[in-house]
């Protein structure tokens, strides 16, 4: 049994300690906004925040996240108000299939926390998520738009 604090709520989940956090979140807790893409921390579709740090949850053991504060895409909006990254994604019509965008948004949310006005070089260095639809041009525009709002 591992105690996971996800989006401000405690969940006691019955998983082997080595179960990746991704699967504990998706299958045991039932929050499916966090996506499985590769299982080897390559694509970033599974990105969540663990104590504020964007983390690829497919390669992070659930037990290592015990008693830490986990935020998933479902918990990014606060009090019914979308996070500015989510809002920028809507305003800039970013997602195509959308499958990678939960992870993309979580990665960008952390970037903007660390670098409120990121340069293109910052974006290039920090945002390494794969998007097979190829939304990068809109992603970049939306990051700058969200940063401008701050």
């Amino acid at each position: 049994m591992v105690r996971l604090n996800i989006n401000g709520k405690d969940h006691d989940v019955d998983v082997d300690p080595n179960t990746p956090l991704l699967w504990a979140i998706r299958e045991n807790v039932g929050l499916t906004g966090t996506k499985y893409g590769c299982g080897i921390a390559q694509c970033g579709a599974c990105t969540v925040h663990i104590d504020g740090v964007a983390t690829r949850s497919c390669s992070f053991p659930a037990s290592a996240a015990a008693d830490k504060k986990i935020v998933t895409i479902e918990g990014l909006a606060q009090n019914g108000v979308l996070h500015k990254v989510q809002q920028a994604w809507i305003d800039n019509d970013v997602p195509q299939c959308g499958y990678c965008q939960s992870g993309m948004i979580m990665a960008v949310a952390e970037l903007l926390k660390l670098k409120p006005k990121p340069t293109d070089a910052d974006i290039d260095r920090e945002i390494t998520n794969i998007c097979r639809c190829g939304t990068f041009q809109q992603v970049r525009a939306a990051i700058h738009a969200a940063a401008a709002k701050a």
């Binding site: 499985y36 970013v94 997602p95 959308g98 097979r132």
Partner: protein, 724 residues
Amino acid sequence: MNFVPKMDRRSFFIGTAAVGGGMALGLDFGAGPQVVRAADGSPEVGVWVVIQPDNSTVIRIARSEMGQGSLTGLAQLVAEELECDWSKVTTEYPTPGESVRRKRAWGAFSSTGSRSIRESEKYVRGGGAAARIMLIQAAANEWKVPASECSATNSLITHKGTGRTSTYGQVAEAAAKLEVPKDIKLKDPKDWKIAGKPLLRLDTADKVVGKMEYGIDVKLPGMLLATIKACPVFGGKVKSYDAAKAEKMPGVKKVVQVADNAVAVVADTFWHAKMALEAVTIDWDTAGNEKHNSATIAEFLKAGLDADKAIVGNENGDIKAAIAGAARKVEAVYNYPYQNHACMEPMNATALYTDEKCEVWCGTQDGEGAFGAVVQTSGLAADKCDVHKVMLGGGFGRRGRADYIIHAVQIAKQMPGTPIKLLWTREEDMQHGFYHPITQCKMTGTFDKDNNLTGLHMRISGQSILATVFPSAIKDGKDPVTFQGLNPSGETAFGYSVPNLLIDHAMRNPHVPAGFWRGVNVNHNAIYVECFMDELAHSIGVDALEFRRKLMGKNPKNLAVLNAAAERIGWGKPAEKGRFRGLSQMMAFGSYVAGAAEISVDGDKIKIHKLIGATDPGFAVNPAQIERQVAGSFVYGLSALFYGECTVKDGYIEQTNFDTYNSLRIAEMPVVESICMPSGHTPWGGVGEPTILVAAPAVLNAYFNATGKRIRSFPLKNHNLQIA
């Protein structure tokens, strides 16, 4: 977006009786209204539109949304003719089973070949217009005035004489009882107010909060999870397997063989199923295919480059005479590798089978194909089957196949009454694709003594997609899809006039299954033709644009997009120091497309500063989404150019994940400018795929201009070239 129709009595009879034996089709149930209702009881006004009392408008979309935006585009087309309030539009998918029960009321479901909009624009616009006419008629009937005195806009009907108004919601019930009109005159696109506009997509909100449901997210009561391992060597079978250890592992419910070539574990969670599957030992019969590898396949194809026998795709003049009499000849051999689609969401489907029913929930690009697969695999009558479509986490052609759906049903049949979600690992997905076909190509060009191009022979040797996915469509040994962009006429016509031309195909089908992969055969055909055009131009010292223009007099639409791309990149004007340019053009999926790249090269690093994509799809339903498809297609095409290769070792695909099959990241994304220049041609052209073809040759031609090096084999990582 689940569509659960509730029918009035007469329609209900049609619905339940029609499919199984087909005997009830066309039965006359007597006079009187036949209203079909959506799940919430709101009436259908024609098959495409449901109007709710508060004016909310539900538009039916038969085609699949996988990111390409056609769900929004199709809704725009219906709404345009319907004259409804766009802010109150939502969409829903009818199920393929329901479509069959209603005599294919929504037409084709396929979203492959960039066809969703171009192949259904007429009848979906007609559906919107029919509903508008019915709603106006219903209001006119109520007011006892001629319908011709009434008009509608923004879901409001107005009678000119009296100024009386009625909302669509108020007359929808009455409208639904009217005959659906035929032979409707559609609007002139010049008058469009909703279609043709760069509107935001309708499906974004759920995607930014994690609420959009993909196949991987489907949840049913009592559902179990499965994961599968098929024989890594294509064509191989399961000889035997030992599941003793796996069966004792946590959460495992059952270990099953699937067809003759795979083993699956069913467990309470995917993770448990995956752990247990790794503990199953499987002995494979690799059927002799273990002797194939990339080198043997390359040799097999190479022999086709000079084979006597080949199927002609396009021919005029006498190429043999042209070659024999040439003052000069230019030759080059190119090749193009296998590539995986690598949709972000690995293949999956959820199936529930009982003796009475078989239902599947999945993302599919081909709802009717999926439905057919469910009917066939379940062994049940069609009226006991259905497919519920959900959002696709990418398609790119891969989800036009039903293999993963068939597997899910085969597993579910072994556990009747229990919903089974089959989810592939990324590794399974990477190693069991329907790969971009592998080809080689020998290009031969001939000049007379005055440097006029007298002949062109393009010999493609390699794989036919139809030989894998639709062998019965191969007639007299010819796979017509091979000649995309190369045909004498039609929606994929060759854009150049050459006095003596021969384009032929020596079909060589290795054991690796091929499939439709975004862009399909134009990915390599455009590289072969467009890089070689530059080679020919360079060989006589003529500008690449001028050389092409001379051959394009009979193809003004090809030339128009090429000119537009060239002008935008500044062709003919000096580039910034250290920057070099390249061009490309072709016709595909009914659209004329051209590209222009500007790059710089620093050692083994290629920086693409700008990539222009010009497209003439005939009509532009949503320019903003077209722009996104152009940029997206370039990401897919450049990923293929720089990284995309699946190699074969001992009969299996060596790449297993994104660490060995890389994909473009944001740092490598060039600035993309799209030029949308619809010229009003019919039939309309597609958007999702065509522009992918221009990315690679434009960059390769620019690379030659920068370095003098001509690259003819791919991906570029094999030449130690990186995208900066």
